[in-house]
Every structure is written in structure tokens, then in C-alpha cells.
């Protein structure tokens, strides 16, 4: 429409960036796997799949963080209800 960037378009943009990232990282992983399998593993396939999986995994992690920035490894964000119950348990 007339509005280039509106609030309802945020989600679509995120999807776009995640896809691009996935493609790039998977491609890099794929190519690294190909080179490794050719050079080190006498043209075996599993190094290619592994490195592609690495690339895709990294892309997924980045995408997930973009959707939920509060999700940091080792921490948990409590909801208000959970926090209230936790407080009640502590006081008890």
C-alpha cells in the first residue's frame, strides 16, 4: 500500500531476513562440506551434510533470537503469574 513500512509488516520482514540468512548460512555450510569431503574425506557425503546442518542451525538460532530477543541461553523470563506464584512459594 502507500505505507512502505507499517507495524503489521514487521513479521513479514522478519521472515524474509530469516530465509535469507538460512540460505546464506546453509550455502556456506554446504560449500565448506563439499571442500572438506573432497580434500579430507575422499569424496564422502556426510561432511557436506554436517556442515550444511551447522549453517542451517546457526541461521535458525539467529532467526529465533530475532523473534524473541529475551531468549538468551541459560536464562528464563518469567511471566507475571509465574513470578507471583514463585513469590508466594518463597514467602511460604
Amino acid at each position: 500500500m502507500s505505507k512502505p513500512s507499517s507495524s503489521e509488516d514487521i513479521l513479514g520482514q522478519k521472515y524474509d531476513r530469516c530465509l535469507a540468512d538460512l540460505l546464506v548460512k546453509s550455502g556456506v555450510g554446504f560449500s565448506v562440506g563439499v571442500v572438506a569431503s573432497v580434500i579430507f574425506f575422499r569424496r564422502r557425503t556426510w561432511p557436506i551434510a554436517l556442515s550444511t546442518g551447522f549453517g542451517a542451525g546457526a541461521a535458525y538460532a539467529d532467526c529465533d533470537r530475532s523473534f524473541n530477543p529475551a531468549r538468551i541461553p541459560g536464562t528464563r523470563v518469567l511471566s507475571q503469574n509465574e513470578a507471583a506464584t514463585l513469590q508466594g512459594n518463597k514467602s511460604n
Binding site: L11, C63, D64, N68, A70
Partner: protein, 636 residues
């Protein structure tokens, strides 16, 4: 003789130191007495005049209190100078009379003494003649006795003073006659004691000069001294003279008898008898000198001398008597004079007092009359002023009453005139009131018109703003219209309108304008609603990419709800908002969508913002419109 000598010696030895000490002691004593007396008497008088000194004197000075009591008892405190003078005059008179009495007495005594002395002299003469007669021839022997006889009468004649020196010479000359002389002396007076005579005879000249016994010899007033003695002021001379004379005589006896006459020639004028006596004596002396054998004949001479002496005594007595009479007369006269003077003074004083009293009485009467007159005048003046005042007040009251009456008449006349004029004036007043009412109406009408015009302008501006901001098909800025509206409403000073327009003017909404309702509705249904329904299943928290993907995948499988449906889920809310938008109720749609949480709210953010802006502008304009309506209602 021996006793005499002893007496002489003793008196001489005692008299030598005595006078000095005595004089010093006496002087001290008298001085002290005088000073003390003066002090006490003076202090008494001073203390009667000075109260403080009175206290001091009575308290601190011994005998002071008793002195003051004595003084008060004798009335010293009332003593004045006149009293003192009077008293002194009296004292003087008394003293004078006393002395005159004394003088009389003394004179009488002196006469007695004289008589006695004369008797003695006569007896001595007789003795002398007897003595001379038995020894007439021997000139050497006989010569001294006559001399002594001759000298003997002389002191006898001198009543008092010259007895001693003469006696001394006599004593020297003939000790035989000493007894006789002593007897004569004893006879002469009871006062010249033989002892004193002898004591003084030891130092004759000096004693004569300053002998205290001289007081026996003071000449009564007006009396002449004895022959051979004048009354020279320095008594020294007169007393030395006789001594010299006597000495001369005694010394001349053996050698040459000097002539007495020339020596006393100075008295010849005053006392002829003396000169006569002197001549007689000289005659006798010359006779004796020329013819010592004719001493027996000296009896005649002596007789003559005796006669002379008697006449002398008579004369003296006569003179004395005269003097006394004269003095007494004088005294009496003086006494009378003073008494008269005193009486005169008293009378004068009495007269003065009387006249003073009369004067005082007169003055007092005059003063009284004067005062009475003055008071009467004052009273009359006051009465006059009072009557004047009362008259004035009466006049004023009369005038005031006249004025009051005049005023009443004027009022009556006025009332009449008013009644006459009443109708016309009332009409005029009515007309003017009508005019005023008309004026009022006109003014009101003008105001009414003005208000109408203003409301009209307001409405016009409001409509312009409405058309440009809300009901325009496209979004466009409406700052200009808002400004005009504000200016118009500012004249009305409506706080509500002003607040609404202020809040609107502060934001940047008028610059960018607001979305038209059609645009908002289209935007919601075509873009916002499907995208929000895609995230309807995403949890509010901890939503990862997988949840989003799952929600998106599942949203296609769900049924789409329509109409006014109940439920809190996102799809129901979306259905209700769509329904409200279809009903053109942007407010309710925005309220419904505002309740959403989580990712749906994030997606709805821009649309809600636009909707809120539009709603704000709409609300402000509605308020203004309401106020304008109210104003127009008020005007009508």
C-alpha cells in the same frame, strides 16, 4: 628704826621679783578671763542668731547649756543694739554719779586730812619753835632743824602725793624729827601706812614716777594742784620738780639758799598766793642766810608763812567747793538733759508708732475700699457681658425662627408650583424614560446582532475545519482552519473550547492531518486484520520462530468469524472491530482492538495511533460544536 629697816628690806626684797611674775600671771589671767568671757557672751549672742551654732554651742562647749539658759532667763535673746546702747548709757550715768559721790567723799576726806595735817603742822611748828628756841645761837646746829621745820609743813600742806618724798628727805635730814614726821604721817591718813612710805622711800624717784599709790593723789576734777605744782600732763615733771626743789632746798641750807620765787615765777600769774608764799620763804631764807643769829626772829616770818598757808588752804577749799558746785550743776544739767532727751525719744517713738498704726489702718481701709470697688466693677462687667450674650442669643433665635418660617412658606409655594407644573413635567419624564428604554433596546439589539454574527462566524469556521479535517476524502493539514476557529473562539473566552483547541493545537496533528475514515477502514480489513489473525495463536511470551510459523500455518485452517461475537480471543476481537467499522463506529472498534496483547498489539500499533488521532480531533470538534450550539441557543 630697826623694825622700819627690816620692813623696808623685806618689802624691797619681795617687791623686786614680785611685780614681774605678778604682772605676767595677772596679764595671763586677765587675758584669759576676758577672752573666755567674750567667747561665752559672744557665743551666746551668735547662737541666738544662728540655730546650728546654738546646737553646737549647747552640746559641745562645756557650760554652754547653762550659759544659754542664763541668757534666756535674762532675756538676752531679745536684746537689741538699742537696748545695749540704752543700758550702757544708764550704766554710764550710774557710774558717773557713783564717781561723783566718790569724789565728794574723797574730797571730804581730803579736807579732813588737810585739817589734821594743818593741826600737825601747827604742832610741828610749835615743836620746831620750841626746839629752835632752846638752841638759838649755834648756827651749825640750829640750821638743820629750821630747815626740817620749814620743810615739814610743806608736805603737810600737800594733801596726799608729796608726803612720801618729802618724808624721805626729812628722814635724811634730821633723824630727830623722824618720829614727829611719822606721827604726822599717821595723822595725815589712815591709808598712807608708815610701812609703805618707808618701802617706797627706798626708791623714791622711781616710785614716785610709777608708784601705784599715786591713785591716792589723783586730783579731783577741776582742782588745782598744791602750790609749786602745776598740772602738767606728764606727771613725771611735776613730781620730779618738787623733789628737786626739796633737794635743792635741803642742799642749799648749809650753803646758799636759792631763791624760790624765780623758780615758781611761772605760777605767779595763775596762783599769786604761791608766788607770795615763795617770796615769803625766800625772805625767810635770805634772812636766815644774812643773819643766822636772828633765827628767833624767824617766828614772824613763819607766822606770815602760816597765814599765807591758811589763806592758801582757804583759797583751795573755796576753789574746790566752787568746782564741785559747778560740776554738780553740770552733772545735774546733763542728767536732766539726757532724761529729757530720753523722754523726747520715747515720745517720738510713741508718736511714730501711733502714726504708723494710723497709716496702716488708713492704708488698710483704702485697700479694702479699692478691692470692693474692683470686685463690683468686675461683677458689673460680667453682668453686662452676660446680658449681652443672652440678648445676642435671643436675637439669633429670633432670626432662626424667621428663617424657618420663610423656608416653610417657600416650601408651600414650591409645592403649589409643583402641583401646577406636575402634569407637564410628568409627561416629560415619561418621554425621557421611553427614550431610555428605546436606547436600551437598541443597544441590546446591537449586542444580540453582534453575538449572532460571532456565532455565525464560529459556525462557519467550525464547518470549514470539519470539512477540511474530518469529512475530506484525503488526508490534508488543517492548521489554517484551526487558527481561524481559535481566533473566533478566543473572543468568547470559553474555557472549555479554549482547552480543547489548545490540546489540539499543541500536537503536530493539524500539520499532517488525519486519516479519513474510509482509508482507516480499508487499511484494517485488507492489511491489518489478516496479519493479526496469522499471529492469533502465538503465545504472549517466549514465542519463538517456530510458534510464529505454527500460528501462521494453522491460521489458514481456522474458520473466519463475522458479526458481533462474544469471546476474548484475538479472532473474536477482530470480528467485533470489523463489525464496528462496518457500523462506522471507529471509537468502539479502536476500544476493542486496544484490548489485545502480545504480538497482535505490536502489529496493530500504527493503525491504532492513526485511529486515536482522528478520534481526538473528532472529539475536540464535537466539544466546540456543542459549545457553539449552546451559544447560539443562549443568544436566541
Amino acid at each position: 628704826m630697826a623694825a622700819n629697816e627690816f620692813l623696808e628690806h623685806r618689802l624691797a626684797s619681795e617687791a623686786a621679783p614680785a611685780p614681774k611674775q605678778k604682772s605676767i600671771v595677772r596679764r595671763v589671767f586677765w587675758t584669759t578671763t576676758a577672752l573666755t568671757g567674750t567667747f561665752y557672751v559672744g557665743s551666746t549672742f551668735v547662737s541666738f542668731n544662728n540655730q546650728t551654732y546654738y546646737d553646737v554651742f549647747s552640746e559641745h562647749v562645756p557650760l554652754g547649756q547653762s550659759m544659754l539658759e542664763y541668757a534666756e532667763a535674762h532675756g538676752w535673746d531679745n536684746l537689741t543694739v538699742d537696748d545695749v546702747i540704752e543700758f550702757s548709757t544708764e550704766t554710764f550715768i550710774t557710774t558717773y554719779s557713783f564717781f561723783s559721790d566718790m569724789i565728794k567723799k574723797v574730797t571730804g576726806e581730803a579736807e579732813e586730812v588737810k585739817e589734821e595735817a594743818e593741826k600737825k603742822v601747827q604742832s610741828v611748828k610749835a615743836a620746831a619753835t620750841k626746839a629752835i628756841k632752846p638752841a638759838p645761837k649755834p648756827a651749825e646746829k640750829a640750821s638743820p632743824p629750821p630747815a626740817s621745820a620749814k620743810t615739814a609743813p610743806k608736805p603737810a600742806v600737800q594733801p596726799d602725793a608729796k608726803v612720801e618724798p618729802v618724808t624721805s628727805t626729812v628722814k635724811k635730814v634730821s633723824p630727830d624729827l623722824e618720829e614727829l614726821v611719822a606721827r604726822a604721817e599717821a595723822a595725815i591718813a589712815g591709808k598712807p601706812y608708815p610701812g609703805d612710805t618707808q618701802a617706797s622711800s627706798s626708791q623714791p624717784t622711781s616710785d614716785i614716777l610709777s608708784d601705784p599709790q599715786v591713785y591716792t593723789a589723783p586730783l579731783p576734777l577741776g582742782f588745782e594742784p598744791p602750790p609749786g605744782y602745776s598740772r602738767p600732763q606728764p606727771p613725771k615733771k611735776t613730781q620730779t620738780k618738787p623733789a628737786e626743789q626739796a633737794e635743792k632746798k635741803e642742799e642749799a641750807k648749809p650753803v646758799v639758799l636759792p631763791l624760790v620765787a624765780p623758780a615758781v615765777s611761772s605760777f605767779t600769774e595763775s596762783e599769786p598766793i604761791i608766788s607770795h608764799l615763795a617770796g615769803t620763804i625766800d625772805n625767810l631764807a635770805s634772812y636766815l642766810a644774812t643773819n643766822p643769829a636772828a633765827a628767833s626772829k624767824a617766828t614772824d616770818v613763819l607766822e606770815t608763812a602760816k597765814k599765807d598757808l591758811t589763806s592758801l588752804a582757804d583759797r583751795f577749799e573755796k576753789v574746790r567747793e566752787d568746782e564741785r558746785v559747778a560740776l554738780e550743776a553740770k552733772l545735774d544739767e546733763q542728767t536732766r538733759e539726757y532724761t529729757i532727751k530720753l523722754l523726747e525719744l520715747e515720745m517720738e517713738a510713741q508718736d511714730k508708732l501711733d502714726s504708723q498704726q494710723e497709716d496702716f489702718k488708713k492704708v488698710f481701709d483704702e485697700e479694702r475700699v479699692k478691692i470692693i470697688q474692683a470686685y463690683r466693677e468686675k461683677l458689673e462687667n460680667e453682668l453686662r457681658t452676660q446680658t449681652e450674650l443672652i440678648n445676642e442669643r435671643l436675637k439669633e433665635e429670633v432670626i432662626a425662627q424667621g428663617i424657618e418660617l420663610q423656608r416653610r412658606w417657600i416650601r408651600d409655594i414650591k409645592v403649589r408650583v409643583e402641583q401646577e407644573r406636575g402634569g407637564r413635567l410628568a409627561k416629560l419624564d415619561e418621554l425621557s424614560a421611553d427614550l431610555k428604554r428605546l436606547e436600551r433596546i437598541a443597544l441590546d439589539n446591537a449586542n444580540y446582532l453582534d453575538d449572532n454574527i460571532r456565532i455565525h462566524a464560529l459556525w462557519s469556521a467550525l464547518r470549514a475545519l470539519n470539512s477540511s479535517a474530518i469529512s475530506s476524502p484525503v488526508r490534508k493539514p488543517f492548521r489554517e482552519e484551526l487558527r481561524v476557529l481559535r481566533h473566533i473562539t478566543a473572543a468568547r473566552e470559553d474555557p472549555v473550547v479554549a482547552a480543547a483547541l489548545d490540546s489540539l493545537e499543541k500536537t503536530d496533528v493539524p500539520d499532517v492531518g488525519i486519516e479519513p475514515f474510509a482509508d482507516l477502514s480499508t487499511w484494517f480489513t485488507s492489511e491489518v486484520s489478516p496479519k493479526v489473525s496469522e499471529v492469533a495463536l502465538v503465545p504472549d511470551e517466549n514465542a519463538g520462530v517456530l510458534s510464529y510459523l505454527a500460528s501462521r500455518a494453522l491460521s489458514g485452517l481456522r474458520f473466519k468469524r463475522h458479526g458481533l461475537v462474544s469471546g476474548d480471543d484475538v479472532l473474536s476481537v477482530l470480528a467485533r472491530a470489523e463489525y464496528y467499522l462496518n457500523e462506522k463506529d471507529l471509537d468502539s472498534a479502536a476500544r476493542e482492538l486496544n484490548q489485545l496483547q502480545g504480538p497482535a498489539k505490536v502489529l496493530l500499533h500504527d493503525w491504532l495511533e492513526a485511529a486515536r488521532k482522528r478520534l481526538e480531533v473528532q472529539q475536540a470538534l464535537e466539544v466546540v460544536q456543542t459549545q457553539a450550539t449552546l451559544a447560539s441557543l443562549l443568544v436566541v
